[in-house]
């Protein structure tokens, strides 16, 4: 009965304040999410038509020159016609890389997610999940650096290869395409695993028992029950990784060669090096359009919503089968649509391939008896998961190891033990200032994020709004926009306001960009909160505000605090937005590490990274404790 009245904001029993309070409540988050977030994005559109004046300035006007430069196609220069245009061919490369990353992550991640979801040792599962999740939030800069150390000529991979006689001479695996792909899969694999994990976890174990009881073996059960039921997880995982990979800046910049300059790298170069703001803006709009086209295809042809991308994904056991006729009608529209549809079609294709492979495997192992069969599958999956977990954990472990080297250069194995680089880190004023800046910015941004996300979640939960769904979408939207674009948009906005290059500008940008995390967590908490507790309090005489203070907030404490900690940890590790807004005036740890990488691999970088990783792990464990196993 309570749910029947929940849409009625005037209901006397609601723990809200008064009917008109609903507009005050929503105006605060909307101020930030519309006035301070959408306005910069709109300014980006305007800027993309401005006229560039070589030498770092621009004047208002209307020209299509920027788009012409971005989109010009030359048919004389051979086939395909985008070949002659650096920007278009790099846009295609960006999309290709994102697709490769998404599908490689799916192939690598599915077995791990499946194993995690089905294993029955809770402590090991939490350990593995914490490992995966912790690596997830460590700044891309440190993780790219780890792969540089591994892949460089004279790096770990090459020297191990030489020692084992596999390589004739030291060889560098970076910068280059495959080194970049490895790095990209490494950073985005955790997102894929977690999405698939929650989807597979949601499958009722009794369904699998029912299937086995009806005579299906493990392979058939997987193919006929588990895989179809996790299809939504597969589609969300692919979409999430694809969008994140499209917007990736740090990995292509640090692991790619000049041939692998992706769109975000080109945009950053236009802004920071060429100071051609209008052209940078035009390319940003191009990237946004690719993302929007992809999202449109997702929403149009699957039952995904933008909210489910934002993390509130719940596996739905049925539906979501895109009909094949829809593909045909879309095939003539444009190349970017085709790519989007193609990725979906291949998602279905992958299912089929997996199915036929499953058939093959099953016919082979049917000759073995059932017990041995299960054993082989189980041992095989364990070996695989161990290898994949090594891939996820090793780079950061290597960084930790080399940070204790007694030598002047990075060496692995370290060949001794010394804490000198930590002393160096904590005594060098530039590192200490960067650390203080990072912590201060992250703390303030976390507060801002939590107030924005929290009030929005609360307002949407308590009051019925005609535009409630749209307000909710605003709450998720920031995280869907590639960070490089958020950075450029805020840069343009703050330049106009005259506050760019300040800590405040970074705090505001991070506060808005990460508001979706507290928003989602607090919304979930409010959803799960039993309304009867509030009714009981009011029945006992507590006023609406008293009820919120004594009952609602204490019960939501874990969600509020984990939301804030999430925003904190993300802001702490964020590079590209902070870098664009710093205008060389503000240093944070990720910026400082990135800049130091230009001058070689001083072990101080490793020490700084370890301090940062430790900070991140501590906060992640705190979130897990607080929320009583939020990862479940």
């Amino acid at each position: 009965m309570a749910t029947n009245s929940s849409t009625d904001g005037d209901e006397s029993g609601r723990a809200g304040v008064r009917a008109n309070a609903k507009w005050y409540a929503v105006s605060y988050p909307m101020f930030w999410l519309v006035a301070v977030f959408l306005v910069p994005l709109a300014m980006l559109v305007v800027f993309s038509f401005y006229v560039n004046i070589p030498g770092g300035s621009y004047r208002p006007g209307f020209t299509l020159e920027n788009y012409a430069r971005f989109l010009s196609v030359s048919f004389s220069a051979g086939w395909p016609p985008i070949e002659g245009n650096l920007y278009l061919s790099q846009t295609w490369l960006t999309i290709e890389l994102a697709l490769v990353t998404a599908f490689a992550s799916l192939a690598l991640g599915y077995p791990i997610a499946y194993y995690l979801a089905r294993m029955n040792r809770p402590w090991l599962r939490s350990l593995l999940l914490i490992t995966i999740i912790s690596s997830l939030w460590v700044t891309y800069v440190i993780r790219a650096y780890a792969w540089q150390v591994i892949l460089a000529s004279g790096g770990i991979l090459s020297s191990t290869g030489v020692r084992l006689g596999l390589l004739a001479e030291p060889q560098s695996f970076y910068p280059g395409y495959w080194g970049l792909v490895i790095g990209m899969v490494y950073v985005f694999l955790p997102f894929m695993i977690l999405t698939l994990y929650s989807s597979i976890r949601n499958i009722d174990g009794e369904l699998l028992e029912a299937s086995k009881n009806l005579g299906a073996g493990p392979v058939k059960t997987f193919r006929r029950v588990t895989l179809p039921l996790s299809k939504n997880g597969i589609v969300s995982g692919l979409a999430l990784v694809f969008i994140l990979a499209l917007g990736a800046y740090v990995m292509p910049r640090l692991l790619g060669s000049s041939a692998e300059r992706t769109l975000p790298v080109l945009i950053e170069a236009q802004i920071m090096s060429e100071q051609n703001y209008p052209f940078g803006a035009a390319m940003s709009i191009g990237l946004v359009l690719v993302v929007l086209a992809f999202l449109w295809v997702m929403v149009r042809f699957t039952n995904m919503t933008t909210a489910s991308l934002g993390g509130s994904e719940v596996a739905e056991p049925d539906g979501g089968r895109p009909d094949s006729a829809a593909y045909k009608s879309a095939s003539g529209v444009g190349s970017s649509f085709r790519n989007g549809v193609g990725s979906l079609a291949s998602a279905i294709g992958v299912t089929r391939v997996a199915a036929s492979a499953g058939n093959g495997i099953e016919s082979v192992i049917l000759r073995i008896d059932a017990r041995t069969r299960e054993r082989i599958l189980w041992v095989g999956s364990r070996v695989y998961v161990a290898a994949a977990m090594t891939f996820i954990a090793a780079p950061l472990l290597i960084i930790i190891a080399v940070s204790f080297t007694p030598e002047q250069f990075l060496t692995f194995p370290p060949g001794g033990f010394s804490t000198q680089w930590y002393v160096e880190f904590f005594t060098d004023s530039s590192w200490v200032i960067a650390l203080i800046n990072s912590l201060g910015i992250a703390g303030a941004a976390a507060l801002l994020s939590t107030t924005i996300g929290g009030t929005l979640a609360f307002a949407l939960d308590r009051y019925g709004y005609r535009w409630g769904t749209i307000f909710g979408t605003f709450g998720i939207l920031p995280i869907l926009v590639p960070p490089v674009i958020v950075g450029v948009a805020f840069l343009v906005f703050f330049l106009e306001l005259g506050v760019a290059g300040s800590r405040t500008s970074i705090i505001v940008a991070h506060g808005i960009f990460y508001a979706p995390f507290p928003f989602i967590l607090i919304s979930q908490g409010l959803d799960e909160l039993d309304r009867t507790y509030e009714e009981a309090a009011m029945n006992l005489g507590a006023s609406p505000l008293g009820t919120i203070r004594t009952i609602t907030l204490p019960l939501l404490q874990a969600n509020v605090v984990s939301g804030a900690l999430f925003a904190f940890i993300l802001s702490l590790n964020e590079y590209i937005i902070a870098w664009l807004l710093s205008l060389f005036l503000v240093d944070t740890i990720p910026i400082q590490i990135f800049n130091s990488l230009r001058y070689g691999y001083s072990p101080t970088i490793a020490a700084a990274s370890v301090v940062f990783i430790a900070l991140t792990v501590v906060v992640m464990v705190a979130i897990d404790r607080l929320s009583g196993g939020i990862w479940e």
């Binding site: 009965m1 029993g13 009867t532 009714e535 029945n539 006992l540 005489g541 008293g546 019960l555």
Partner: protein
């Protein structure tokens, strides 16, 4: 102590669903009234309008002769026990029971402590003050929920299916316990349940609700023995129902033509030609094999099914024409076996005519 008065209470939810359709009742001070009915009949909505969680679309509510129709829940002095108890999980038992007095702000700490101790004594759980709700069993949580509701000395106690989540044995124990405490405190109580047995055993009066309206209000034995409508007869206990129309009326009795049989039964106000139902409680039938005197209405049939209910035995007797009579006899009185031919009869005074 004080009574509750509902007059013309109607609740229409946004979207047009009419949950309660004009309900009137005067509950006396100290009375235990049960609202009973199938799920969706509007009983919980009615209770929630008394508590102030729902504002009635129409009608007025007064508690202790004060009109509280527009008062928010926290300005009405009612104590509610929720179906899943709603004990605050982040507070100890002491804090839970003290909550109502603390938010009131007019009690000293000593008064609160004394009152909490008194309440825990009342529900016979004096030693649990420092525990948290998850450390208590279901039955204990139930008692604490009651103590919490009673602690601020409310004008009325509202119980929303509080026994539904307990197992059968505990439920029966709590029925007795709840009634003992209610009588000890002497508090006006409104109890909502879908369990007809609970309604019959616990209340001073019960109101049978169906489709947003009261079908019949009265003491349990009156409602059970003298149901006014077919719904009430069918909902409370087991009823054999014969649908038909009245052929002749005479002197407080009438003969009802049910097609295959015709039955003489006690009549209220129904006139000839009216469509009615005849209600016969299963324990009112006599079985010929027991040597009892045959009643006016007799049926021949075959025992089709038999089940033992402990203190009694239930027989399903097939009398042809698709009609099955349910007959209950005390255990140990001449058992019949399945397939046996039997003659069943009932006197006209044990048959009652109700609105169809």
């Amino acid at each position: 102590m004080s009574g509750i008065s509902l007059s013309g209470i109607t609740k229409r939810y946004p979207g047009g669903v009419l949950a309660v359709k004009g309900v009137d009742i005067d509950i006396e001070s100290g009375e235990f009234v049960t609202l009973v009915g199938p799920s969706g009949c509007g009983k919980t909505t009615t209770l929630r309008t008394i508590a102030g969680f729902e504002r009635p679309t129409d009608g007025t509510i007064s508690i202790d002769s004060v009109d509280v129709t527009d008062a928010p829940p926290y300005e009405r002095n009612t104590g509610m026990v929720f179906q899943d108890f709603a004990l605050f999980p982040h507070m100890t038992i002491h804090e839970n029971v003290a909550y109502g007095m603390e938010v009131d702000g007019e009690y000293t700490d000593e008064e609160i402590d004394a009152r909490v101790a008194e309440m825990l004594e009342l529900v016979e759980l004096p030693g649990v003050a420092d525990r948290t709700p998850d450390q208590l069993s279901g039955g204990q949580q139930q008692r604490i929920a009651l103590a919490r509701a009673l602690a601020p000395s409310p004008d009325a106690l509202l119980l929303d299916e509080p026994l539904a989540s307990l197992d059968k044995k505990l439920r029966e124990q709590m029925q007795v316990e709840l009634r003992r405490i209610q009588q000890e405190v002497g508090i006006t109580t409104v109890f909502v349940t879908h369990n007809q047995e609970e309604a019959l055993t616990m209340s001073d009066r019960l109101a049978v609700m169906n489709d947003g309206k009261f079908e019949q209000v009265g003491p349990p034995e009156a409602v059970y023995d003298e149901p006014e409508t077919r719904f009430v007869a069918d909902f409370l206990g087991t009823a054999n129902l014969f649908d038909g129309s009245i052929s002749t009326v005479s002197d407080g009795y009438a003969t009802v033509d049910c097609g295959d049989v015709s039955i003489r039964a006690r009549n209220g106000t129904a006139g000839a030609g009216e469509s009615v139902s005849v209600v016969v409680r299963p324990e009112r039938f006599a079985l010929e094999s027991e040597g009892e005197e045959a009643g006016e209405n007799a049926f021949d049939g075959t025992v089709k099914f038999k089940r033992h209910l402990g203190s009694s035995v239930e027989y399903h007797v097939d009398t042809g024409n698709g009609r099955t009579l349910i007959v209950v006899r005390r255990s140990g009185t001449g058992a019949l076996s399945t397939g046996e031919r039997v003659s069943v009869s009932v006197g006209a005074k044990d048959c009652r005519i109700v609105e169809a």
